[in-house]
Symmetry: none
Subunit: 356 residues, 2 copies
Amino acid sequence: MANYTETSYSKWLTLSITLTLATISASAAYMWSKRREENLNQKLIKELQKSLEESFKKCAAERKGRIRAQQDLRKAMTQPKTDKMVTSYPMAPIAIIRSCFSTRNGTPRQPLIVPLARACLMFDTTLVPPASLEGLEEYSHCWIIYVFHLNTDLDKLWKNPSRSKLKAKVRVPRLKGEKMGLFATRSPHRPCPIGLTVAKVESVQGNSILLSGVDLVDGTPVLDVKPYLPYCDSIEGATVPHWVKMDDLLVVASVEFSEDFIATLTECWPAIDKKSLYTSPEEFQILIKQVLSWDIRSLSQRTQVKENCVRTETEQAYSKEGRDIIYHLNLEGLDVAYRITSNSNVIVESVTFSPK
Amino acid sequence: MANYTETSYSKWLTLSITLTLATISASAAYMWSKRREENLNQKLIKELQKSLEESFKKCAAERKGRIRAQQDLRKAMTQPKTDKMVTSYPMAPIAIIRSCFSTRNGTPRQPLIVPLARACLMFDTTLVPPASLEGLEEYSHCWIIYVFHLNTDLDKLWKNPSRSKLKAKVRVPRLKGEKMGLFATRSPHRPCPIGLTVAKVESVQGNSILLSGVDLVDGTPVLDVKPYLPYCDSIEGATVPHWVKMDDLLVVASVEFSEDFIATLTECWPAIDKKSLYTSPEEFQILIKQVLSWDIRSLSQRTQVKENCVRTETEQAYSKEGRDIIYHLNLEGLDVAYRITSNSNVIVESVTFSPK
């Protein structure tokens, strides 16, 4: 009986010990594998974190580049359109006209009819070295190619030539309102607002040319100056349509000056003396006489008088007698007041200093 | 004795069982904690992978944006600078010249000296409605204001007028190489490369003007057309310097045509017949005679002959006798080969079809 219990006990013991050892070794193995798995995960996590960091850096750089490029682009886009530049030539004025005609009103309708009409053509020295004018003085006359810079529709024209409301036909004074194709006229309203005029070359001084007989308004931008070559430019027997005539320019009967005028001119003269293109009040008076020898009034102004002074323009002033309208002409920054009698005698009333 | 062994055995057994249970529970606990840790890691890894993915996407988007912006910027930057636009007027050509003179060589040095020199001034209908030409046909002549588009320095000029290497003085053929200020000449190399020429108005057809007596090369862009007004444009008694003379244009003694010429012209004619400005080979031959009646060779070409044919230009061809140089002139896409004898007789050798 004792033997039997002894053996059964030892069996149990062996079994339990084996079991214990098995359990321990099993859990040990399990722990070991887990440890390896854990290390792998840790490595993966580190790698992921690293590449995420790098990706952030790259992203930030791209963003910075994108923003800079877009800023520059905005700057660039504020410039005129591509398509326009392709189809047009940028013409930089090389000179500016300093003329006795402060406003368009009074500026002669063609060159050389007002011999004393003076202008100084002043070149931009950054574009034109004075040496380039050598020899020009030996010519009696020169062409001036300029921009009609006072056209009110210029902006539209520059922005989109094809869209700008170009008038194909223009009213011709000589034809009392009848219209002609613009290319049959010298109208300033042209697809390319370029003007062509001729003037007498008085002298060349440094980077400027003193001209006379001009029909250019003060501030006109000049694109080019060319010598007048009679053998190419003066065409014998060139003909014009019947409706184009010199007497399109109406000559007045006489030009007289009131006593007031003499007094007021002597008074004003010092204000412009220094910068004037004229050496004395007397010379300036001759200019006024030459300018007013032609009826410089617009068609509407003339007809208005014929219609017995229909008072459309309320601010319109009248002479003491209340019969003649007082017109104004600005020369060299002086306002010249004058009237035209029914027999087209011009009476110059007075002068006042009125810079533009 | 039996009791003793029984108790020791049972002790061992309890111990081992306890140990087993302890081990099992311990490893269970360990497994549990590990499981949690593992789940956390897995979660972290998933999160990292997700944000990495997102970061990549964002990065790609930024990159795309940056590249697009930079491309647009490049486009925009190929346009002229701001400051230039402020100081220059964009002039869009309103017409193009279709002229008999395919190249500059042979194009007359002044208008109206080659009466049969024809051109068709074709207006851009998007800029110029045909009605704007009404009345122009009634004038005998018109001015053409155009761009010297073949000047090789144009690009520089447009990019930066103040920097472009403008030559202040130019060589005057008449003065055998002596220089004059460019504004004392009609040189095409001017700060504003605008040309002025006059032509005879033959007819107006729809949106184009047929002209004759032109000195314009084929493809010339036109900025403006103005009627010629004798009372403003033709100046009586206008004078020029002594060095400016008509005989600056050398007249040749005679112009003769070889038999070869007649044969080759008849052969070539069909190739240009349809689009030619001339109605027959005979009329075309008169044009050639008129063009070659003036010595159209450059100063260097002429002097080269005087210097007894110094063979600087190796590719220069010579006539059979080996004495006269063979010169070329391109009219209406036909290459006209001619030579000038020592007594300045022009012999027209042959014609070959050679479109530009």
